[in-house]
Subunit: 231 residues, 2 copies
């Protein structure tokens, strides 16, 4: 645990009294730095499980490359994907002793892994850093709440439009987006079936709202129209 001591605690950027809803940039730079410095890089194959629901939450993960899906299952196999984690995202930092969901690699992914206890030890010594853990959980909560609105109240077109805009925003390649996940993954994220997702995408293509040079590569041609559908 001496490695912890070597981190310059004052070099953090987010603090407890800090912004939170900051305009640009990821507000968790300090934790990200910690993970990068102390963590071990692991590679996961496509569809490989990172951890399962109910397993002890011993590690915290930072996505370096690739993408991760987190999900819950019903007894009969119905699946709801809670989030896709993209490069720069942190996941697995549950407050409880066990993970509340399963995490799997969507595609071959490189993750930086650090012991949760290390992060907690650091947080115990630094209130501002502890505040960053809170900010992370709160940001995820806000995302989840937006997803509740989508799942509870939006129709298929609106869900797909919201998803495409979200992906465009997150990958920052604004207009041409690469989808690492299958249609089934998208369906399980949006609470639809694969057929409905496919049909809805086709419909948007006929509208010329989007173009799809390849099934997993989508060009947003009319963001205005998508935004209209978004809410």
């Amino acid at each position: 645990m001496d490695a912890v001591r070597q981190i310059n605690i004052d070099k953090r950027s987010a603090t407890l009294q800090g912004v939170g809803g900051a305009a640009g940039g990821r507000p968790y730079d300090f934790l990200t730095d910690v993970l990068r410095m102390l963590g071990t890089t692991l590679t996961y194959r496509r569809n490989e499980e990172v951890f399962g629901e109910g397993e002890p939450s011993d590690y915290v993960y930072l996505v370096v490359t690739g993408s991760i899906r987190t999900y819950k299952l019903l007894a009969d196999g119905r699946r709801q994907i809670a989030a896709f984690c993209l490069p720069g995202d942190i996941f697995g930092l549950d407050a409880g002793e066990t993970h509340a969901f399963t995490a799997e690699a969507v595609e071959r992914s490189r993750l930086v892994v650090t012991k949760r206890s290390t992060v907690l030890a650091l947080a115990r010594r630094d209130g501002a850093f502890a505040g960053e853990l809170w900010q992370i959980a709160a940001a995820e909560l806000e995302r989840a709440q937006a997803q509740l609105l989508l799942l509870g109240r939006k129709n298929a077109q609106e869900r797909v439009a919201t998803f495409l805009l979200e992906m465009a925003e997150r990958t920052a390649s604004s207009d041409m987006i690469r989808l690492p996940m299958s249609r089934q993954d998208i369906a399980d994220y949006l609470g639809l079936t694969i057929e409905t997702v496919s049909r809805t995408i086709s419909h948007l293509e006929h509208d010329a709202t989007i173009a799809l040079p390849k099934s997993r590569q989508i060009e947003l041609r009319d963001k205005r129209a998508l935004a209209q559908l978004n809410a």
Copy 2:
């Protein structure tokens, strides 16, 4: 801010390294104590707004009596209720500077209100307390994720069964539950229409799974059957 100093910081019960998924009891006793000691009690009338989405998050709330709904709206008025807050629950503790949702009193409610800045000041001086804020956000996140599964993948019967069991568990009056909220509120929480909720409840009544002496008072007669539907 001197009042902060008077709190015995060592009298807390939840700490950063603390349990989280603890069996019984609410794990946020310290924050609850803080709010009770420092807060002002306010009463809200039925349907009165506590705060609106986008307003500055200046205060933190503890429900003493009554119940609160938190929700988001779409532009055309579709509403998704994210949570019902019951006595003992804390809400409004957003990490960001503005609230991500609206909060309203479902019925006449008494709340203890404390300045957010007070809570943050305390957290800055005490890492374990800061950890408690994290635990609260993480617990809410976990609840939201369970709700994602419900909204994305459960049918109407399963949603209602889950809701009834949840209410029974939370009010601890295990078998006879009082519903402070209208059918419309329940519908907007479960992502259904009022008619579907009503029909589903009627169906459960015909099954003798439940009995409803009054429309807002439900007796769970066959929890086994409900649990079956729950997942």
